[in-house]
Symmetry: D3
Subunit: 237 residues, 6 copies
């Protein structure tokens, strides 16, 4: 029995609330159990310098966490004066994941920036950020289409992320914080609606794992991602 | 007629939601119309160096704003690498305001830190932060008393804050962003349940004002603060 | 009897030395007793980006303190790598105060920057900075007029600042450091030659105060500011 | 034919030079073709605070690149004032990889710090750093054993890293910079002598990939890592 | 004829005002013509970590410049967020120069910190800082002796600094800013009362120079330093 | 007998390896005994703002040290978030030294940047950096000439640097770390092929020195620099 008492292949209760933020062009509050991430999309009519003149757009992300999102308070990054390595790693992952399903040549020379802010953290915040970030992006792009600023939807298909891990030898889906903190390995998978892989990251925390175990983690993730993609369709439908 | 169509002495719809944050020792979501501030209290069993050995505790605050809390996106302070002067000014104000109603000798050598994070910003965020921060503080202290870690409640009375301003010559209460941006002067008052003044800050934005106008602003603030203090009592009751 | 043995409504000896700095376009050494602030105006033929094309000018200020201006040495901000929140709060106040008496449409698209550096600190440095900063600004503008670069004087009237406080229950004018450190409340008022209010800031340090006490502080400040404005006229006359 | 004209499963010429650094406790110059990384181990008789009193040691890494290691000069991180997100991500990966084969309870309360500095960069620098870092670590630990400061070798087995990628539809091993820059996906695998997985990271750069392709990448990596581990044995033998 | 119309071996008018700073333990306002540097000594009963337990003291310095000390305004280092390389180079030079005449074993485990702040800059600020810094140091040490906190004077002899340069082929003493800016080489010498050398720094700005020219510069410096040391004796007498 | 057992006027074994860096426009590995500095030149078709439109080019340098170049590990400057004062002082010296032998009007509006990275440090790193930096610069300029991008060689003559010091009363050439750490004074001289002086820096570490001693140091340096310039000719020949 895993700590959360869920089945090994069972997601937490997941909710994707569309457009909770009054001022953003698109937004989503992604709840994976007690993990709550507010994702807000901003449309900017400018692009990074390396894209000037290419006709291509860009999708990027920033990630943050409220200091008391966590059980123990975490120091505010604005006070420390820099984003941690972990924060930067996560926001780069979110951006890459969303770009992988975006035909940037259809976006034109504009940038969509997705702010993912963790209001409450109970494990899996990067997966909730990617899953909710896709919804915020889709809603912002739909608004651009409705305004006639985009002809065609640049998104090729949905993309979602889910964590897995090995806990006392068992492979399991969607770890909460208590499970993650004691897992011997954990992994994050970013997968598309058609079952393609966008990112895979697996780390031995305490002990290396076999390639068979890795294959089991991937199979669990495929099952979880399919469910998340169904919820994304409802949220943007 | 003021832009928001409210009466000159009319607050926005105000809600103070107690304990929305699962992990904090006390918390409050303060909504002043479309301004939403999440205030979370953390109890720390350590104090700043200058208080060591005095038997006195400390109350302090940090303030932040989600990048897309605002109509136009604001750059993330963790990315810029420092808190702005405005942020530091506000968090010092919140801390001073809460300390003014705290008998720190009753708190013992511990620190309560209040994180005030603006989820949505439509004017008056510092006032919502002080008003909600008091609720978060009161709830955290009550928990300490329930746990037997505090004998007596260190709070002397409630404290709330409200903004006022002069708009086209009229003095008015609780400006929203559109009103604030075009006001010729604005003010913030921090007042206690018994009507005492903790802080007064008034600034001419476009044109100096008379001491009569200042007196009118103070009278409006006294009326608004009384209503906020009633709501605090309900939230902590 | 107050610690400084002055009457409750008595300023310290105040001197405003015009143009002590050889290289600045205008300057003033403001001495409020043992508080000495060197204010130097620099005329810049460029403006902040948000004013480009508006035909309006800008007045801004920076504030600093020599490390050994104080009784105990203060760490150098250039070594710490950032200006403190207090410093930023003060320099924003100085800038706002001077802009309130400047018709910026008469200044043209140029910026006057006022550097206020505290050579010696014995309380009331921000008030000395505003009061001396006005003189430096006026002298720089007069030079621009003499050079034919300005047609009309953009200043509407003089502006000065003075502190007040409540010490052992008594309201008193122009606190020195020893008085300020033990006051139960302190306040800073920025007032114009015609008696208008530009800024009011009052803080309870130890205990909230009544609105009657606030009114007494304002009355003391009005008396003090009138004297400072007389001295400004002599310094710029 | 791949750009480098190597076979799809062919590593570049790899050399692991033991102890090139006169002053370090252990070191290795790892050359993967034109990628040259100098890895130097420092033994520190202190540990991070969270390990104090646990009897456990720590292995950590730092990563850097000479500005002109690359075809186009890269700005020096010491000048920019911070390590990039990419640098931090890589150094965290190196540290995790080496800790996964270290029995930290045998290390005692000391820390081994591995500095990995890229002298020349032609793709795969993080893999060369992990592979050479293991050699530097092993040599430093052997010296500690020779000095009688360690009773038992804390290393469980060798660990090496290699990159793979998908280039024009073909899966291939050990990409150089020209291949990496035009790959549609790339991956890094950290594998042990016994064939276990320590880390897997795969990213779609241009287009998502299938789980079959991922399996091919893993198979290539297993072949390459086996060869690297043979070379490690020679370097430390 | 040199630009300043002085003789080639003529110092500017030099004044060393003792103890102008009310709060410092010792201070000196050093005026070399229009270059004015305020030097203030702070006695600290603690030393840098590397000296703990040695019984030796330390003398160190910090250097700063008011933004409008110069003809064109210089950006404030506290705003830029760091001290420039030039500032650090100068403050290290001041510290080394003063330590060279201090028997640190007589100082005990305390640190004297000399703040040198340039109020007005017309060339030669580092030389004025060293020359005035010695006076501030001597006055602070005398006070320590008078208080019985020091038995013996740790200073071995006076130390002063002066600049020289080659301007249109002529070697000359004590360059002002206009001379320095157009010199083909400049030099700074730190010399003691007995004629020993503490520091020599000579740089070709536009063109290398001969060792004969260098010898002429040194001879000029010896003459100038002798005069400065006489003035130091008067200031501390 | 000096610690290194060399004659007082004897350099360490010096090697200047031309073009060890595959990607740089010119490079040199300068070995002064166990001090190894990699110098790499980058040609940039842009210049600092203050040179725009002058037709003049620029030569600048950056300096760094691998953390474990030294006997005891040194903290990485990219981690500390800034270059030390020492680093900045050295890189300014390298740039000035190379500019002194460059006719910048022949370089055109381009900048050559010399990165000097210390791989191993045993004293005299700044001298090795200048000596090797000249070779890297010369090789890069020759390549520009070969490509027809430069008509004439902008270098006027060779420039080299060497350290000297006073150790137990004896003047000696080219101190290694053990000698430097215990010297009572040390000096660095930058000299040209024709015997001119570009820079002289001498510091009393423990005790002031006489002008006679200074003259002996200079004579030793002239001898050493002549040998270094011969080696430069071979490396660039």
């Amino acid at each position: 029995m895993r700590p959360s008492a869920r089945a090994l292949d069972e997601l937490r209760a997941v909710t994707l609330v569309p457009n909770p933020a009054k001022f953003a062009e698109g937004s989503c509050l992604a709840k994976f159990g007690d993990t709550h991430v507010l994702c807000a999309a901003t449309v900017e009519e400018k692009i990074p310098p390396f894209l000037k003149g290419t006709g291509m757009g860009w999708v990027t992300a920033e990630y943050g966490m409220l200091p008391r999102a966590t059980l123990e308070r975490t120091e505010r990054e604005a006070v420390r004066g820099r984003q941690s390595g972990r924060t930067q790693e996560i926001q780069r992952l979110i951006g890459r994941s969303l770009r992988a399903v975006t035909r940037r040549e259809l976006l034109g020379e504009r940038q969509i920036r997705i702010d993912c802010d963790v209001l409450q953290a109970d494990g899996g915040t990067r997966c909730a950020a990617i899953t909710g970030g896709y919804v915020a992006l889709a809603l912002a792009l739909r608004r651009l289409q409705a305004q006639g600023r985009l002809k065609e939807n640049p998104l090729t298909e949905g993309v979602a992320a889910v964590s897995c891990g090995i806990w006392q030898g068992d492979c399991m889906l969607d770890l909460d914080y208590a499970e993650d903190a004691t897992a011997m390995a954990d992994a994050n998978f970013v997968l598309t609606a058609s079952g393609l892989m966008v990112e895979a990251q697996a780390s031995a925390e305490a002990r290396p794992f076999t390639s068979d175990q890795f294959a089991q983690l991937l199979a669990l993730a495929q099952k979880g991602a399919a469910r998340l993609i169904t919820l994304q369709k409802e949220a943007t439908g």
